[in-house]
Symmetry: C2
Subunit: 422 residues, 2 copies
């Protein structure tokens, strides 16, 4: 039956299979890389294995403030029978390399980080000594190597420091700096263009030009940015096939991934799928997923670039975002499909029962008694406040009842949500 | 006993009390705020309560694609005895406000998000209708309100939307946009100046000017930035009292919080405490904490501004950072002392036993079988690789044995560490 009020009814795919189909279709992409100065590297992903160019530490050094001595001379030393040493010098960290030598009966003052003088085999803390003019007394037996970090103890030249695909945190960047690097080769951030539909947003924009009418695009852009992408707000597409096609075409030219919000449902003004099909092969690959909310999500591929179709309801939009866009961003950032979003084990705060579809269950995760508790968030799927009350989601299979207290894996929207824990 | 090789032996304070002393000393600070455009607001902290200026949704609207009708006319409708309606119009989201009315026996096509025509009290999905030209048949009884989100269902005008002190996530910013805001009043990011000591770094810098010798400052800056501060690398202070004093003085002028790394231990070239005392009252408030590593941490207050003294060993430096600087940044960002860092419940991956001091135990948290498992990280406290292998820490009280599998609360270094979970 050909109905003008129903343009197509989507075939509802299994969400996991739908996601796999998307990821398979970009399996061959070559990720571009760029050289970035260390100061800008936090949050970026290494595009190469990094090997150590030096030993860490680069010389035998002391990790205390005290005296460098030959420990064999402290045999049987005690408070009553201390071992005495004449102080023949002082060493500070900048004194490496040093020519100073301690002979039998001699010691050198060493500040934390200083090199070890020749002839010394241990350092003893000032607190374990007594000082009489230029003579220092050691009041216990000292073992060889005490207070010393030997050269290369931590890292040896040629060791693998950090792997390709590693997310660079502040401490990693510090390590790269200690490896005498000033830049790192990282994956370029994927550019994700976001287009919002349709005429009602344009109308709102005309009425109040300063107000951001397409605020869902703002949410999607923020989420994409938190996952490591470079979002690009492409504005609003009017409800007309030629305009939608033009907008998506512009976005394809300007980005790695294109996202549409709205305009891909079964309404008579939903032109996105036709636009995608008009723009190139294979066009729409998948539309309609057995996921509630989020059923009207889908994607196409145009000349090798993915176009993700997200529904216009915010709840469905977010479901589609995490089903398709989040793993895709993970792949494009170099982290991998599963690694762009944080996952935590939690227990359900309330029983949940699903119907014939997979359920995209919004939850709020809190710290409970030694556990994280994920409470399902009530609220309409079209209300942004429902997303505001949530910090993540879990997917429950069809025809399933999960009791309160049952373990689930929660995907947090992004790393920011860690701070929402109370 | 006056020893030239021991300038002072710190009194070892209880870490919790030391932290409380610091936070008490900045209890009266007034946090500056600023107006920031919504596009830049993610990660910032609201400095005011935000109330809704409108109802959400702002009018009765449908959340389906279908037909708006008067449900009383569908009484006893079924596939064999459908209720028939003449279609008298089509409504789309931009059509609000609409003058369209459906009378008895009439329906209007409505696209998802469209306003409800006058006289209609429900909407029915296209899938639950049959179409014959301009007549639509409804094949089941429809209840009043079906398919409709009433005005203000989600938020009513005047409702509190977001509280002062709330960390703005992408969905929150989207909500502010829907509240017709274009900017938000947020707390200004605290400027944290970081000064590194001493001569050995200067020597390294002279040897290789392009290489970042003070890489621990880079780590501290990255951590501070992840917690919401604006770090400022102030370079290296030479090992000389006048130079150290001058550097800290400059930093105090340029920032909200000053941090020194190194130069505050008990070595003979540790001039930071004297410099702080020289700069203003009360000067050094606390030096030396019963924490291993991190014992040589401390802080001063100069003319109301905190100066945090971090040890020069990276492990100790990080311990001092999380004992003093992280909660301080939490206060200054407006989030609160405990809220700048993410905390998760975990079980110990290995037994731990402490001596007479509190233990700052570096751990690596991973997802185990339905639990997070925190494995203590082995490695020297002066090795940056130890921090690289860690994603957080837990503090164990003195003279305590915690068995493997025992619950602990882990503080992750920052939100980025969520992605380190495997």
């Amino acid at each position: 039956m050909n109905r003008p009020d129903i343009r197509r009814l989507p075939k509802r795919a299994n969400p996991e299979e739908a996601q796999k189909l998307l990821l398979d279709s970009v399996r061959e992409i070559v990720l571009p890389t760029e050289s970035v100065s260390l100061g800008e590297c936090v949050g970026r992903v290494l595009a190469e294995d990094v090997f150590s160019v030096l030993n860490i530490p680069d010389y035998d050094k002391t990790f205390i403030d005290g005296y460098a001595i030959n420990p064999t001379e402290t045999k049987a030393a005690s408070t009553s029978t201390p071992a005495a040493f004449k102080i023949v010098g002082k060493l500070f960290p900048p004194d490496y390399p040093t020519a100073l030598r301690v002979n039998r009966g001699e010691a050198a003052y060493v500040a934390c980080g200083a090199p070890i003088p020749q002839g010394a085999k241990a350092t003893v803390k000032v607190e374990e000594t007594r000082l009489h003019g230029d003579v220092v007394e050691v009041i216990r037996e000292i073992k060889a190597g005490e207070g010393i970090i030997p050269q290369g103890d931590d890292v040896k030249e040629g060791d693998l420091l950090l792997r390709k695909g590693h997310l660079l945190r502040p401490q990693d960047v510090g390590l790269l700096a200690s490896n005498k690097m000033t830049t790192a080769q990282v994956f370029r951030k994927p550019v994700v263009s976001i287009i919002s539909g349709g005429d009602e947003l344009l109308k709102q924009t005309q009425k109040s030009p300063s107000v951001i009418a397409n605020n869902y695009a703002l949410v999607a852009a923020g989420f994409a940015s938190q996952l490591g992408a470079e979002p690009k707000l492409m504005g609003i597409m009017p409800d007309a096939l030629d305009k939608v096609t033009q907008k998506i075409s512009q976005a394809l030219d300007a980005s790695d991934i294109v996202v549409t919000i709205g305009g891909s449902s079964v309404g008579v003004k939903d032109f996105v799928p036709d636009a995608i099909n008009a723009l190139g092969k294979p066009g729409v690959v998948m539309q309609g997923v057995s996921l509630r909310p989020g059923a009207i999500s889908g994607f196409g591929i145009v000349n090798g670039k993915p176009v993700i179709m997200l529904p216009g309801h915010i709840g469905s939009c977010i479901a589609g975002f995490y089903l398709f866009l989040a793993p895709l961003i993970g792949v494009y950032t170099g982290l991998g499909a599963d690694s762009a979003v944080p996952q935590v084990p939690a227990v359900l705060g309330k029983a949940v029962e699903t119907g014939p579809q997979f359920r995209f269950l919004l939850v709020n995760v809190k710290r409970g008694d030694g556990k994280l508790e994920a409470t399902p968030v009530q609220g309409g799927s079209s209300a942004l406040t429902t997303i505001v009350k949530s910090n993540g989601y879990t997917i429950i299979p069809p025809h399933t009842r999960k009791e309160q207290g049952k373990g689930v894996t929660v995907t947090l929207f992004n790393k920011m949500e860690m701070l929402g824990f109370e």
